[in-house]
Symmetry: D2
Subunit: 384 residues, 4 copies
């Protein structure tokens, strides 16, 4: 098995999930590469050293340019805040490295387009960590749709509900809170949460043609941790939109950090002519499935416990009845990337796939601003 | 449509459910009889008058013997406490009346046997109000079993959990509390709650061969409302038993009034070779169904919302998606009784059916007392 | 108790639910009136006679004008298709009758305004059968909100999902299918289903300020049962909208008859600063409640089984743990109407309350047509 | 951090879960030891080499005596079939090694007693992998009980339902199927599944005083993979018992591999005077909690999503809302063992704790055989 030297940028929440994926993937999956935790790069040297000790990184760096330039590194994995994605990814691609990037790809489609151009010009394997595609239940949903079980789709419904920013005392910006800082994050829940919903939706149900959105910032001013000042909040706290897909189905999408009682409730539902599917992240190991072909008086939503060996990815884990958790989705994604990379390919969602999501989030924000329906820049056009 | 004059004994909780069934049955079911609320009989004249006014009974009586003797009365319905069942039922049968009796039939099998002898000798239509058989979801379960969908049955599980007697301040005996008085009720939860579980179980899964039981009285002394004295509590507060059915399946049964958080949680589950069924009274309009014949990766418990016109009884009610409630089970039972009576027959469970349940509860109490396995007196023997 | 002679127009689904409410209300509620089922009026004389026999109506009529004109009639209850509501209601009010009307009040706000003018000029008691307000769980939600438990509200979410018109073979128009006929119904799911969601929403969360909507007719042509011809379908099969309430909260609303697997899934959720509430019609006897004031590690959505005597309306029914069903909501509404009428008052929602809902549905349809945000005509203006 | 050299015996299902625990524990927990995957020992050399490559074991062995004797090894972890536990554990303890043993400790209490004597004589740190104690939701249940929130306990209910042996074509014995071989496993579901239920139960609710049990072998003969012959099946396929705890509460316990529709449904429920708790393994990241101290009309079972930082173990994982899975319980147990070992102590459940479970399972099997109530050998006596 070939070694693949990984240089990761960022030691936050996503630095941990990615590191875990690299550490675990060979324990459970037969893939052509063995990732080696070569370098962790982050601004705070002391904390980076601690992170390296915990995960076994061989070296520590504070300047990402050195990671990108290092001949030892095969793969650059970007797990740092959104405002760093584009610059690092472009440089890494130009240096001929494989590139993985945490979502969203760019803070907007313009950044994402530059990133797509870079990896496609360089011809390097790339992938964006929209990890929820690799939930076994969601992957099973994809299989069912691809097999034509739903028939014509009428409705799509997705929401991502959190409640962690309701307190007016929560500061914005700085360590651990950059998601509330518009300049770093690019947007609020639109890029953070809706982007997940949109990525899954287009993968399952095709392109989104047009949107009508509304956004709100419920708490208008918060103390900024970097300046120490109370400053206007720039991000959207909540973002809701109606959509029409290319296939004619209608949709509601909603994301918020003000839904008391929900921590990370990402739910999706698809209603087709013959069958319907529902899934939620709070019980990610279940798929709800309704099949109209069932005998009439015995039709009902099936609560499928996705733990059997014939469920996607599950033969690699334990025995039927025993559930997996959140971080496994990253391990699955690492496994798929390494398998693809073994054949010189990228894994989905590629940078180009993720660009499409940025175009929808751009349209959502524009629609909310303009109070009008907004057409989404098409998937098929030569974008960049 | 022929009129059927009803004389009901008892204006308590069950007096209300039965009266409602008689009042409603013709609104929703085409049956050969129209029940007429002729006479309400109860000890307290003033309260009986109030009950009569509310439900439209034409006359009020305080002596059940007059009801039984009245030539106006076609049907005697016994909704009074358990210690009155046998005497009234025997007299009513001897007077040639149709007889309906609230469960349990007798306080013990000896009483029940006398009642069976009386109705069978007189040849009068009879029925015991084990109403849960007429929950549409439970009736559907019966249909599925009769169609052979479960295959060989391995396990049966039933429990009936309440929590209304946990407080030590609750008195025993007297109006509204006779269920805590051994002399009136005959037993505690064994006859009150387990009897329901046993009736349904034998109907769905056949005879019970043997039992090993344990009972407990958690609060040993309570004030008695009739005497005003603190007296030892005679009833069983909780009653649990293991059982082997005639078909070889194993079972656990449990009833208690000390299960904090449950008001009337009657649940049953049957595990067969090919399929399993689960139902609970707290959401009585749903049946949980698992079919092993479903495609492997899509197997899951189906939550069937029992509101469609092809579900038992449901075409008589509203439209799909709209649930019915508790009292409808009595209306269904009245409809089935009246249909059967139109053909000169009894409706299940007949007195004889209910005798079998009394034999099981007798065996349960004996087993708990003797701390030994107890064989249940067989279904097929000439009992009385 | 005073008799109240009821003349009902219509013997369809709603004719049954209203008749049942009048037949049952005195069995369970102490109210100052006893409704008498005086007259059933419908176009088909034979069917009307059958309906009268089943429910005990004393007389049958085929011309609603005679009912309105009859000095015997105290209350006119309109349970006929939407296109008849305005004319009957106005005439009944002018004749000095109490008037109850099935929802929606008018096919549009213009009709509804005329109806409001009529009942207010005549000073007659009036009410619209938006029955879901009287689900005990929903009434409890109202109490919690009125007590200030939610604090500032951020989000409201409602949907009403059905699947009964997915088949392209289903005809439109005529007996039992008038809800698919634009000229009779006024709109599709907007007036039929969304109107329920909107009525409850404004009752719970205040006025709706503005909406952005999308509608769709998935099956463009259907055979019309009255003409025998295949004709364009005029109604909306699905209707979705975003809304901003007067209190600043954001909302998604959706109704459809193309959501496979759902029969009558009306759900609502409210997220407040301190607490959240969720309810769905498929299990109408439960309220989901999340209280942020609970101790941190024990916070969770409570599944409250609404069957206790301290829950709204429930002391009138059975004992804790035993659920009620759909039709009880109409009985509750009848009880509230009769109580109010006893004091010479109307019961909510009055015609004026229901007019506000028609204004929102008008705005929804206009927004969908114009592809623009639409301001809702305000609640406080002198409307008519 | 000190290195702790691990020699593991067995590469089956439990070999994987233990290896994963050792590989992961330092990534998420600060413990005084770093486990080093030193040696994997198993009978099949080729497969052992494959296992070593996958998990990074430094050496491979086929004779467990060499592992026990090796001066390099600090900790012997027994993950091999039940019939090997006692001999290995005793030898390892005598060699002064720390010892971890997969459950059940012995095939019976006699074996377990020898093992307790060995570790206690040698004074070595020891632990048995009853991993379900370390489910965060179960640990939270323990905290609530210890805080006195339940008050007097009335009822305990546990079951462990599987369905993987229903087919008569399934062979018994040999690789992957030793759990069906009486001589290797010691018993069927009693030692395999009930043992888990009993361990948790005594930890949460104290000692079990007496039991009445029934067992069944549904498929009487199966082909044995080692002999190639059809042979009588010696194990119990299902095992049910009633119990009385030392604290006076009553219980039902049940385990089976014939419950169609359930893969690994371990559920437990405790009903106390003031509160109740329910948990199930199929959704292990949730705890159902009912608190009678809640305001009356808002009482309901809370579905607590155990993903917050104030939930046991969860601050070591991700962010609120994101669930963990099955294998995490082993990582928690490894962390607790290593913490305890750092202080020269054992972690619960120790060998002595696990001996108590073997005594209950012995009593269950004896009760089923003798058809009588069986007293459990007490916890406090000098056992060995």
């Amino acid at each position: 098995m070939k070694k693949l030297n990984v240089g990761i940028i960022g030691y936050g929440f996503m630095g941990r999930t990615h590191s875990n994926a690299f550490a675990q993937v060979n324990h459970f999956f037969d893939v052509p590469y063995q990732p080696v935790l070569n370098t962790i790069c982050a601004r705070n040297l002391e904390r980076a050293k601690g992170f390296a000790a915990k995960w076994g990184y061989q070296s520590v760096e504070t300047d990402w340019r050195k990671v990108v330039a290092s001949p030892q590194i095969d793969l650059v994995d970007i797990a740092s805040p959104n405002d760093t994605h584009a610059e690092i990814a472009v440089a890494a691609a130009q240096a001929g490295k494989m590139v993985m990037c945490e979502k969203p790809l760019g803070r907007n489609a313009a950044e994402a387009e530059a990133m797509v151009r870079a990896v496609e010009s360089a011809g390097v394997a790339n992938m964006v960590w929209y990890n929820y595609r690799r939930v076994p239940a969601v992957m099973l949903a994809k299989q069912l749709i691809d097999e034509g079980r739903l028939g014509r789709v009428f409705h799509y419904r997705a929401k991502f509900l959190q409640d962690w920013t309701i307190s007016a005392d929560l500061p914005q910006g700085g360590e651990g809170l950059w998601r509330l800082d518009l300049s770093v994050a690019g947007s609020g829940v639109t890029g953070d949460l809706l982007a997940h919903c949109i990525d899954t939706a287009m993968w399952l149900n095709g392109g989104i043609a047009e949107v009508s959105a509304i956004t709100e910032t419920f708490i208008k001013n918060r103390k900024h941790n970097l300046t120490g000042q109370v400053e206007p909040v720039g991000i959207d706290d909540a973002s809701l939109f109606l959509a029409r897909f290319d296939n004619g189905s209608l949709a509601t999408f909603e994301a918020t950090r003000y839904a008391r009682g929900h921590k990370a409730l990402y739910t999706l539902e698809i209603n087709g002519e013959h069958a319907s599917i529902f899934w939620d992240l709070h019980d990610l190991h279940r798929l709800q499935y309704f099949d109209h072909n069932d005998e009439g008086r015995l039709r009902g939503w099936r609560s499928v416990h996705i733990t059997d060996s014939d469920h996607p990815y599950m033969k690699h884990w334990w025995v039927p009845g025993l559930q997996i958790g959140y971080e496994h989705t990253f391990i699955h994604q690492a496994a798929d990337f390494l398998s693809a990379a073994g054949e010189g390919k990228s894994a989905a969602p590629t940078f180009r796939d993720a660009l499409l999501t940025d175009r929808v989030t751009d349209a959502v924000l524009a629609s909310a601003k303009n109070r009008s329906w907004q057409t989404v820049a098409g998937q098929k056009e030569a974008a960049c």
